[in-house]
């Protein structure tokens, strides 16, 4: 034994130990490499997500700032928003954005998000969106009489063959939309955000060409304010058995409109161009009394009170093209209003009254668009949405910029 221990011959323990160590080392290095690669992949993924969020945030903020400029009507290219390397809260990402273009040709927003080595870029073109994007939009109930056909036309383009027209409510309650028998909707029927169309729509035998679905976002219904340029006339507009003509020179604020019928019905005639009236009180149309907007003229009515229309009275628009913007009716009161609107033949016009209940009676068809709290189409023929209302300008009421086309790139 002593000699064996003193022997200079090499044993196998050391090589065995070395081989074992090499094997374990190789395994350790392999596992470390695997973990390292996994970690790198994870960091890349999270950086990519952060960069994407930053780019989206930049776009949202740029759009918000654009709408603030739109509200202030500061259409100077020098005021277009831009930002560089703004930190996104609670992470290491930064975003930058700039806006190019003008309100005539449209704007392009470019937003770049960066996080670590990851970079995402999103582009968006914008468009102006007005108040009348649907044939009918209500906050609560919407009722269409039996046999109503809802479709679209374009008063600005006879060649536009798109007859699509959507109706919608922002309510999600059961039976918010009542479609009586024989109703035909040549478009979609939309209920409130997250609502169930199967319960929110009471279908009594309607034919819906489009889809029934819950809205993906709640459309803002801004309060309309009366233009400060309308001077207070300190009086009302009244006509009893006679005809009163209002021209653009008579635009202003009046206490009320009273049309009465004695021997003959009272008539209020709008002619000579674009007339703007603010009525601080009610509009009363006596039996067979009429408000007539003559061909080539327009009437914009801001009404703080209610509208009452007696039998055979009505508001008529003489427009061969059925231009809905020939009559614009805005509810501007602070409390709940009631608009009882009648037309002796076709109804042509738009009503924006998110705090008013609107009942529409027409002896002919209805042309235009309605935004109201509750709406009931009580009598008449078909309901035609003027698709020309989708084309708006910066001068229109209640407009806002929204994303039109969106695209994404890596750099």
């Amino acid at each position: 034994m002593k000699k064996l221990l003193q022997s200079k011959r090499q044993g196998s323990a050391v090589p065995l130990a070395v081989v074992s160590i090499i094997i374990l080392l190789a395994m350790g290095v392999g596992l470390l490499g695997l973990g390292f690669n996994s970690r790198i992949l994870s960091i890349r993924n999270s950086s990519d997500i952060e960069a994407r969020c930053a780019a989206d945030a930049g776009l949202t903020i740029a759009l918000f700032e654009m709408n603030e400029i739109l509200k202030a009507k500061l259409w100077n290219s020098g005021t277009l928003p831009q930002a560089t390397d703004v930190s996104l809260p609670y992470c290491d990402a930064v975003y930058s954005y700039n806006v190019t273009g003008d309100h005539l040709g449209g704007y392009v927003i470019k937003s770049v998000g960066k996080s670590g080595l990851a970079q995402r870029t999103v582009y968006a073109t914008t468009e102006l969106k007005g108040l009348f994007d649907n044939a009918v939009l209500t906050k609560a109930d919407l009722i269409l009489k039996a046999g109503t056909l809802v479709d679209g036309y374009n008063s600005l383009d006879k060649h536009d063959k798109n007859t699509n027209a959507d109706i919608a409510t922002q309510s999600t309650l059961d039976s918010s939309i009542t479609l009586n028998s024989g109703v035909v909707i040549n478009g979609d029927v939309r209920v409130g955000l997250g609502g169930n169309p199967n319960t929110a729509i009471k279908d009594l035998g309607a034919n819906i060409a489009g889809l029934k679905y819950g809205a993906t976002q709640k459309e803002p219904l801004p309060q309309i304010t009366v233009p400060a340029t309308l001077l207070n006339k300190g009086t009302d507009i009244s006509a009893t058995s006679d005809t009163v003509t209002i021209t653009p020179a008579d635009s202003g604020t009046y206490t009320a409109i009273n049309l009465k019928s004695s021997t003959d019905p009272g008539v209020l005639e709008i002619s000579g161009g674009d007339v703007e009236l603010h009525v601080a009180g009610d509009i009363q149309l006596g039996q067979s009394c009429q408000i007539i907007v003559k061909e080539g003229s327009t009437l914009t009515l801001y009404v703080d009170g209610n509208i009452h229309s007696r039998e055979s009275s009505g508001i008529g628009v003489e427009s061969k093209a059925k231009t809905a913007k020939a009559l614009e009716l805005y509810a501007t009161g602070n409390d709940t209003q009631y608009f009882d609107v009648k037309a002796n033949s076709d109804w042509v016009g738009v009503i924006y009254a998110p705090n008013a209940d609107v009942d529409l009676y027409a002896k002919g068809d209805a042309y235009g668009s309605v935004v109201s709290n509750n709406f009931e189409f009580k009598s008449g023929g078909s309901y035609h949405y003027d698709r020309a209302l989708k084309k708006v300008s910066v001068e229109d009421e209640g407009i806002r910029l929204v994303v039109d086309r969106w695209s994404e790139g890596k750099s």
């Binding site: 374990l24 596992l31 695997l34 989206d56 999103v122 979609d188 993906t216 976002q217 086309r405 969106w406």
Partner: protein, 171 residues
């Protein structure tokens, strides 16, 4: 006496006890190394599967595909099945499209997650793409303009749960 000395020199070697001790030590060391090697191999395989197995790589693909389709979709409407088994979104065919003219529908067929692309008017299928297999559960949800997908992939040996969401950005 001389013979006895010669004999004792010739018999030099390991005793049985020494051999047994050496054998036991070798067995213990061998077993220990074996256990470490096998354990290391198992750990390696487990980690490798967690990073590179088909359900894991499929999950990356699914996330990317869902993200790309939903983010490019129109935010005006996202149609969801009542039981959340499928979701349909709408998008523009290309930059020249003036209206939303295409649809994409995510749905499960057998154990495959498919996405069907088609045109809207008239409605017709253009292509059906299989995004991944091994689907054991898939549900979709919607909140505002965002869509969420919960997907469980199971290849029999490994299960992977994917929860991803994306916001539709187009008009």
């Amino acid at each position: 006496m001389i013979i006895t000395q010669k004999r004792s020199r010739a018999r030099k070697g390991f005793t049985l006890v020494e051999l047994m001790i050496a054998t036991v030590i070798l067995v213990i060391v061998g077993l220990a190394i074996g256990v470490v090697v096998v354990d290391g191999q198992t750990t390696w395989n487990t980690m490798y599967d967690r990073i590179n197995s088909d359900v894991v790589t499929d999950s990356y693909v699914v996330r990317k595909k869902f993200d790309a389709v939903i983010r490019n979709a129109s935010s005006s409407k996202l149609i969801l099945a009542g039981d959340g088994s499928w979701i349909e979104v709408y998008y523009y065919a290309d930059a020249s499209s003036t209206v939303v003219d295409r649809y994409a529908r995510f749905y499960v067929s057998g154990s495959d997650l498919n996405v069907e692309y088609g045109q809207l008017s008239p409605r017709a299928t253009i292509d059906v793409e299989t995004v991944c297999g091994n689907v054991s559960e898939c549900t979709f949800k919607q909140a505002g303009t965002s869509a969420q997908m919960k997907l469980i992939l199971d290849n029999g040996t490994q299960s992977q749960t994917i929860v991803t969401s994306a916001v539709a950005h187009n008009k």
